[in-house]
Symmetry: C2
Subunit: 321 residues, 2 copies
């Protein structure tokens, strides 16, 4: 089963289900490289202490990207007396979510890329259709951004995306914009008087003009209208104003919250699968697995701790068994 | 015109010809990222002095890979009174050439990769079929490696790949390998006595055994036989021994040299196109071109010099106009 972003959402419940019903799990990762310092064979040799191995990999392997994650779930079928296996293959890529989201830089090692290319690895699936992810701190920050926007919007009555204080006094409109704003206010007066029209689309205008409109309307009409910015096919932004009663306003607010929650889930992306593995408490096995575990924690949970004992603690939270 | 390694060799003369006959050239590069430090807009602003701009890009942009190089040649057709344009598009990837060649690490920036993905960029063409390259120092080193191998081979008569000193005294064969080596020598005595057989394939054996065979034969039979290692379909290495006279030996040596020269050319790869552009002395134009020029020199010529004035000197050698 190959999973891309669109597929991913549709199939996530199947993945959750497979994890839940399984007796144990196996994982394997593919990386964009192994070592940015010593050669791979020099990086890990049989004489390393566990602490040395951890420190070396932390120093020389963590700037690479885990860009394919394989998951197999195993469930014993008692009547058939055999294991039933389900396998999932996730391509992973930190596609920037919005302008303020982290713009991840990762290293590629030519020999690793060449090895994967020779195995028929499809790089387009990673870079075009990879599933995004956030670690816990990034998820927390994004959640805060949404909460902040929402509380601002509530403070400003039906208006969104402006700071509450801006609504408490008349807006200072620059001389050259006064005519423009007056015309907008006239249009809205017409809208409110006219019982037939429910909404009004303004002409596309500049970001500064939109800000003035938001501020003016928030001050002049704290209730009774809903203002939002949409984008035309030509990528021009324009404002739509609609009359709303209190009930309608609440419905819209809820709709918006649901949409935001979905956006947030999309951004957390593949990390949700890792959370599900962690929460399941199922036994996770793998071959030569230290690097896989380190990358999994580093990418989907938190920066790696300084020493091995702390790493073990974190790991026992993520993979309890 | 899209050019991959196989295509590349076949079409290189067309590229050379287009450069030679042109009145001027235009180039454009695509990179795996722009800035590993400040945001791209902060990296380059209109108030930079040329020296500042150079230092910033050198510090924050050079770990990315120039992985697509576009070349357009323009030639004025006086009878038709218009320009005739030829365009070439090269995908570039530092595929490791052999075990001792550099294993290049390069950085990718998610936002740049995402931008290219949205433009339909084909990453598989880069990573599976990209044309390799060497800078001047790497080319020099590889050339030296070949020269060294050749002079060693000459010193050891018809035998290749062993150090000359090893042939001057009888080889110390470990006790447990003596029987094996004796048997090989018997087989060769048979070969030399028998006038019908021209060559002899030995059974696949270990690298250590092959070394013992090379050393023993080089000492016992300094002339009259040719020894080489081949690889079977099963990737097992085995030794082939053939009788040669002096003429045959020279022919083989020349064949080998020609093959080595071709391997070397393949390894220098795309750098040959850049050399051709440089040697042509043609005017090279481009849009917002500093980063393209810096990457071109950095990847295909030499590490970037410390300051702008030296960079200008190097650039005037690579792009004389």
């Amino acid at each position: 089963v190959l999973l891309f972003p669109a597929d991913f959402k549709d199939n996530l419940n199947k993945v959750y289900e497979a994890i839940e019903e399984s007796d144990f799990l196996a994982i394997d990762g593919e990386f964009s490289g192994i070592s940015d310092g010593p050669s791979v064979s020099a990086l890990t040799n049989g004489f390393d202490t566990p602490e040395e191995r951890y420190q070396k990999l932390k120093k020389h392997s963590m700037d690479f990207l885990l860009f394919q994650f394989g998951l197999c779930t195993f469930k014993y079928d008692h009547t058939e007396e055999k294991y039933v296996m389900k396998s999932f293959n996730f391509y992973i890529f930190p596609k920037p979510f919005n302008r303020s989201s982290p713009d991840v830089k990762f290293v590629c090692q030519s020999s690793s890329i060449d090895f994967l290319a020779n195995q028929g690895f499809d790089f387009n699936k990673v870079f075009r259709n990879g599933i995004p992810y956030l670690n816990q701190e990034e998820e927390r920050q994004l959640r805060e951004q949404y909460d902040e926007k929402r509380s601002q919007a509530n403070g400003a009555g039906s208006l969104s995306y402006i700071s509450p204080s801006a609504t408490k006094c008349p807006v200072t409109v620059p001389e050259d914009q006064k005519k423009f704003i007056e015309k907008v206010v006239e249009q809205i007066e017409d809208l409110l008087k006219n019982e037939e029209n429910e909404s009004l689309e303004l002409e596309p205008c500049t970001g500064f003009q939109r800000k003035l409109i938001y501020q003016t309307l928030s001050w002049k009409y704290p209730k009774g209208i809903h203002v939002e910015t949409l984008e035309s096919d030509k990528k021009e932004r324009y404002i739509v104003i609609s009359k709303v009663n209190e009930e309608e306003r609440k419905r819209r607010e809820q709709q918006k919250q649901a949409k935001e929650q979905e956006e947030l889930n999309d951004a957390v992306g593949f990390s949700r699968v890792v959370h599900a593995i962690a929460n399941s408490g199922k036994l996770v096995i793998g071959h030569n697995m230290l690097l896989d575990v380190m990358h999994t924690i580093h990418q989907f949970y938190c920066p790696l701790p300084d020493d091995l004992s702390e790493f073990k603690e974190v790991t026992s939270c993520v993979f309890p068994r």
